[in-house]
């Protein structure tokens, strides 16, 4: 419990361990924003790799005296510990994966919507028929499941009749490269690749290039990585797309936590719609200072 009234607010951030580029960028932005606000807040950023570890960090933040917490899990199932934190009087702002508890504030992009937009983009470019490879990431849990669900539901809604092939990979360029090169061997004709993450997509594009294949017309992505943006105009025969889920959004979550503590009126939920980036508009999103 907090002992004496202090002049600075105490905000804790619960982030996942930096296991891939996008998550690292979120941690970076969260820290940067906290640092900017350091005249008003004291902060602690913890990183964890599963629900149990995040729960213990939540306890440590309570010990430290956090008044508000920005929780940013990459997994489902934080409901019980977060409910207990709220019962202890701590304000919780949830970022990314949804924590379904009454009283939780929420700032997020929409993983499901990223899948929806991906489906629209692909049908837009290749029509409703053709061979589409889906690269899902079982190890990423619900992030991957939500995006895939959005993608498949939308295809059904549109009535697209794709020849779908689903493969498992990881959110890394090495995995994207090595798995995609196998997939290219297996399928002579691929029209589009639904990849969920820019890191994977960079590997996928590299594999296509190494194999000298020209049949693939679309490779999607997700996250919003500068390196990937810059690749977009270099490939005139492939549409490289990314569903922007800016890691910088976490700044809004930190701001929201501060506003709540200050007693300002804030909306319970702030969902930022998915933005599609490809070679037609990538320039707007280039930012030499971006870490990601």
């Amino acid at each position: 419990g907090s002992v004496s009234a202090q002049d600075k607010y105490k905000i804790g951030v619960l982030a996942p361990a930096v296991t891939h580029g996008w998550v690292a960028a979120v941690a970076y932005h969260a820290e940067a924003r906290c640092e900017e606000l350091s005249d008003q807040i004291e902060y602690r950023i913890q990183t964890s790799s599963n629900a149990a570890e995040m729960t213990s960090q939540l306890d440590d933040l309570k010990t430290w005296g956090a008044e508000a917490i920005v929780a940013f899990p990459q997994w489902t199932g934080m409901e019980v510990p977060i409910r207990m934190a709220i019962e202890d009087g701590i304000e919780v702002v949830n970022f990314d994966i949804k924590i379904d508890v009454d009283g939780v504030y929420r700032v997020a992009g929409d993983n499901y919507d990223m899948g929806v937009e991906g489906a629209h983009y692909i049908t837009d470019k290749i029509g409703k028929e053709g061979t589409v490879v889906i690269l899902e990431v079982p190890t990423a849990g619900s992030v991957s499941e939500l995006r895939k669900a959005g993608f498949l539901d939308t295809l059904e809604e549109i009535g697209a009749d794709f020849d779908l092939h689903t493969y498992a990979t990881k959110f890394t360029r090495e995995a994207g490269l090595s798995d995609m090169s196998d997939i290219l061997i297996r399928h002579d004709q691929i029209d589009a690749v639904y990849s969920m993450d820019d890191e994977t997509s960079i590997g996928v594009v590299k594999a296509i290039e190494e194999a000298g294949r020209e049949d693939i017309k679309v490779v999607t992505g997700g996250g919003g990585m500068q390196e990937y943006f810059e690749m977009m105009p270099e490939y005139q025969n492939i549409w490289l797309e990314s569903a922007l889920y800016s890691p910088a959004m976490v700044k809004d979550a930190v701001d929201m936590a501060l506003d709540i503590l200050k007693g300002k009126d804030v909306p319970q939920e702030k969902i930022i719609p998915t933005t599609i980036v490809d070679r037609t508009n990538y320039e707007k999103f280039l930012d030499p200072d971006s870490p990601y």
Binding site: V18, I45, N50, A51, A52, T63, W75, T139
Partner: protein
């Protein structure tokens, strides 16, 4: 004169323990870390009472949060003492957790509810069955190692992949709902403290301490891990001892799964338990278990778990920059082991 003598007495006692009892030096390493941690909680003489409450709460948190890994580390230290290794603990945790949740699920697919069993009996049955499943999965590891003659590293790497993957496949898109009563297993309060997981951990550790010191099986683990051939020629059933060690680890993982599910109320099949094998091995090794078998103790392993736990707690309390946190962990780990009695080299 007398004073000097007494002093020398203490110094001798200290040095003697330091050089001859590995657990002693491990304990000292832990004490040093606890002093650091206490200091980092900002000792405040004026409000001693509330400071002390914070300190106690912090410790209950540490213990509660590490009860699961603590149990697994105990199993792991037995496995390592027998000169084996078990990489599958995290995946076994997920498999047992998923089975448990399917059993007590209050949704349409809940197994026990569909059989008309509810409430306390359902919880009781689910717990017993989960323990059995964990024992079975561990036993399977043991059988593949002893009957199949496959190195433990390969077997448990394979089942590590297998158990989690199959669980994820079957649980895809289904989220069981755990009944509130079940959460009581971990969340029941004694006074204002939620200490149930700690109690389970310490009770089981007590039993295992006894097993390791006073039972034929416990001592035979050391014999097998130290010199398999000698053990065999002394009439020890080496295969049986080895198989049982893995089975017991499976059982301990089940306890951890029950604690975890009843604590958090859910389980994320992709991530839960991931990295536990490394944490458990690290705890065992920091606590003096030798990776080549034959050496290790229950108390050492508990100290190892606590050293790593206090290290994490300390870093959380100090607010180290997130990207450097792991670097500090690395430094503390080396520091803690350096502080211990040096391994006799050669």
């Amino acid at each position: 004169m007398q004073d000097k003598d007494r002093e020398k007495g203490f110094k001798d006692w200290f040095l003697d323990n330091w050089t001859n009892k590995p657990i002693f030096s491990t304990g000292i390493a832990l004490v040093v870390m606890i002093i650091l941690q206490t200091w980092s909680l900002g000792f405040d003489y004026d409000s001693l009472g509330s400071w002390f409450l914070t300190w106690i709460n912090n410790w209950i948190n540490i213990l509660r949060n590490n009860a699961g890994v603590g149990l697994i580390a105990l199993g792991m230290s037995f496995v390592i003492m027998s000169a084996g290794i078990d990489l599958s603990v995290g995946s076994t945790l997920v498999a047992v957790g998923a089975s448990l949740m399917m059993l007590i699920d209050r949704g349409p697919n809940g197994i026990l509810i569909n059989l008309g069993i509810e409430g306390i009996p359902a919880i009781f049955i689910a717990v017993i069955l989960s323990l059995a499943i964990g024992y079975f999965l561990g036993n399977l590891n043991g059988l593949l190692i002893t009957r199949g003659g496959i190195p433990p590293f390969v077997v448990t790497l394979a089942t590590m992949k297998f158990y989690r993957s199959v669980t994820q496949h079957f649980m895809q898109g289904y989220n069981p709902r755990v009944p509130m009563q079940f959460l009581g297993i971990s969340n029941f309060q004694i006074g204002s403290f939620r200490v149930m997981p700690v109690i389970y951990w310490l009770l089981i550790a007590g039993v295992l301490y006894f097993v390791s010191k006073r039972t034929t099986f416990g001592r035979q683990i050391i014999a097998v891990g130290s010199n398999e051939r000698s053990a065999n020629l002394s009439g020890v059933n080496v295969k049986k001892v080895k198989r049982r060690v893995y089975a017991i680890t499976g059982l301990l993982v089940s306890f951890a799964a029950i604690i975890q599910v009843s604590r958090i109320g859910s389980m994320d099949y992709a991530n839960a338990g991931s990295g536990y094998e490394m944490e458990a091995i690290a705890a065992a090794v920091v606590g003096g278990t030798s990776m080549s078998g034959g050496r290790g103790t229950v108390i050492g392993t508990i100290l190892g778990v606590l050293i790593i736990a206090v290290m994490n707690n300390l870093l959380n309390l100090l607010g180290v920059p997130p990207f450097l946190r792991e670097a500090f962990k690395g430094l503390i780990l080396i520091g803690a082991v350096l502080m211990q009695k040096k391994q006799k080299s050669v």
